[in-house]
């Protein structure tokens, strides 16, 4: 019995429709991707989906009361709630620079994307 997963690639805004056919836990066929990154993403999306996660963290003494942050690279989807709980505990003090590392979650850096 094979199973077909229909995915919309989120690597770039082209949004290719990719079909992945799985048989006995193995990838039998992949169709619809237009670049190697898309193919790689589709395989990962079936095996271990990952996402870049963003949020805001309170900051004291900045122009705005928050700075925005993102994970430096995608993290496993099932870890997202845990990451959000960790981020909820963070507090920063101005000045904060764009690109500054403000925390770490299981080896993945948390990076400020706005100035404060």
């Amino acid at each position: 019995m094979s199973e077909v997963y229909r995915l919309t690639c989120i690597v770039c805004p082209l949004s290719c429709s990719i079909e992945v056919e799985i048989e006995a836990g193995k990838i039998k066929d992949i169709k619809g991707y237009t670049c190697p990154r898309g193919k790689e993403w589709a395989i990962e999306e079936i095996r271990a989906p990952k996402r870049v996660v963003m949020s805001v963290i309170p900051v004291e003494g900045g122009k705005l009361p928050t700075v925005s942050v993102k994970t430096e690279k995608p993290i496993p989807k099932d870890k997202i709630p845990e990451l959000m709980k960790m981020l909820a505990k963070l507090k920063l003090k101005a000045p904060v620079k764009v690109g500054q590392v403000v925390g770490e979650f299981e080896g993945v850096k948390i990076i400020a994307t706005r100035e404060a």
């Binding site: 995915l7 919309t8 690639c9 989120i10 770039c12 805004p13 949004s15 429709s17 996402r51 870049v52 996660v53 963003m54 949020s55 805001v56 309170p58 122009k63 705005l64 009361p65 928050t66 925005s68 942050v69 993102k70 989807k77 997202i80 959000m84 764009v98 994307t113 706005r114 100035e115």
Partner: protein, 413 residues
């Protein structure tokens, strides 16, 4: 004596900054005005990744994209907290811009204006929602600003009206922050946003109701429940299909409308299809020397295109100043054919290559995009109203046409 400039750019979002940076590079004296107290337009509150793949060749968040542009503004005179209240077109090379800022009311003279004031969001009353006027009703952009600039959660149990990109991205933000996103309600039979953003609903198991609309809000002090009804193919409500969803917050994400009020006051011609001005291939409006870019021109999907339009407008301003106008021996009209809902620019000179931005009326698979008068054809796997088409027409291609070029999207046999 009034201070005078080559170009005054109105709006400090990506279109305005793109225009100001380019104009400065071209050696023009630029003043950039923005009514907010920080630059970037809506970008600083768009904290999700997905920006800049075309323009910076890497994936950035909104604030990062804004920051990169802000860093390129050296040499541009910038005023924030400066709201433009009037544009006067005295003559082709003499225009006045009046703005209010903490310094008071000020008037400056300029040869050209690039108008990049963005868009506004449609609100609950515009889409026919009736009922109690209670707390807990926000546009998506308002909710985004509350959460992602000011760190305030607008509510807990959320219903979102509209499945465009903004609505979907807010659904993700709410879900990430632990809210219960009960439903996304979409009037049309197909989703409004980019396909990649629909993955968000899958990620968080958020139900999407296509061909449905929110018609009523009930609550005492705050939203308590919203009434949803199914619609038929003519978007008419189907009697007896109503149901209520309990929620404390209703988010309206029902599309954007170009913000063109100041332009209308001086008689700039508006295209009812785009909601923005009618423009030529330098993005010049029907008033000579006034250019437009970004979401004031037409609603864009990608910030990259918005910056590109700003740059085109800046090149136009330079040409206008050097030649005393954007001159062409003839203007070829770009007209909408089969399944094209909107297209800009509207007039092409054939003297330069032009990016054409367009949207289709309805989604179709396996189509050809054609310009019959010049024999140009492009085969596309799928077209959707939510995904803007952007095509380059080369000057020599345009020159093949006599008076008009039709753009049409036809299903392949």
């Amino acid at each position: 004596m009034l201070e005078s400039y080559d170009v005054v750019v109105i709006g400090g979002g990506p279109a305005g900054m793109g225009a100001a940076i380019k104009a400065k590079e071209l050696g023009l004296k630029v003043l950039l005005l923005d009514d907010n107290d920080f630059l970037g337009g809506i970008l600083p509150q768009c904290i999700h990744p997905g920006f800049g793949l075309h323009y910076f060749k890497e994936e950035l968040t909104g604030p990062e994209f804004a920051y990169r542009l802000i860093n390129k503004l050296d040499g541009v005179e910038v005023k924030t907290s400066a709201r433009v209240i009037e544009i006067q077109n005295y003559s082709d090379l003499e225009k006045f811009v009046t703005y209010v800022s903490p310094e008071g009311v000020k008037k400056v003279a300029t040869k050209t204006i690039i108008y990049a004031a963005g868009a506004r969001e449609r609100h609950a009353f515009e889409i026919g929602i009736v009922g109690d006027r209670v707390a807990g009703i926000y546009t998506a952009g308002e909710a985004q600003a509350l959460m992602d600039l000011y760190g305030i959660l607008p509510g807990r149990d959320i219903v979102i009206v509209g499945s465009g990109d903004v609505g979907l991205i807010m659904a993700r933000r709410f879900a990430l922050e632990g809210c219960n996103v009960k439903a996304v309600i979409e009037l049309m039979p197909y989703p409004g946003g980019l396909a990649r953003n629909l993955m968000i609903l899958k990620d968080f198991n958020i139900p999407l109701y296509l061909s449905h609309k929110v018609v009523e809000v009930r609550g005492r002090k705050r939203v308590e429940k919203v009434k949803v009804v199914k619609v038929d193919e003519n978007l008419r409500e189907i009697p007896g299909s109503e149901f209520w969803i309990e929620a404390d917050t209703l988010i309206i994400s029902a599309g954007l409308i170009p913000n063109v009020k100041l332009l209308q006051e001086i008689g700039v011609r508006i295209d009812p299809a785009t909601g923005g001005p009618v423009v030529n291939d330098r993005l010049e409006t029907s008033v000579p020397g006034i250019f437009v870019a970004g979401n004031s021109l037409l609603i864009n999907d990608l910030v990259d295109y918005v910056v590109e339009q700003g740059e085109t407008a800046a090149e136009g301003a330079k040409e206008f100043i050097e030649n005393g106008g954007i001159k062409s021996t003839r203007w070829i009209k770009l007209v909408k054919g089969e399944n094209v809902r909107l297209v800009a620019p509207h007039y092409l000179s054939g003297e330069r290559d032009v990016w054409i931005y367009a949207r289709v009326q309805r989604p179709i698979e396996d189509v050809t995009l054609e310009f019959p008068e010049i024999g140009k054809k492009l085969r596309l796997p799928v077209v959707k109203p939510s995904e803007m088409l952007r095509i380059k027409l080369r000057g020599e291609e345009i020159r093949k046409a006599k008076e008009k070029i039709t753009m049409q999207v036809v299903k392949n046999e």
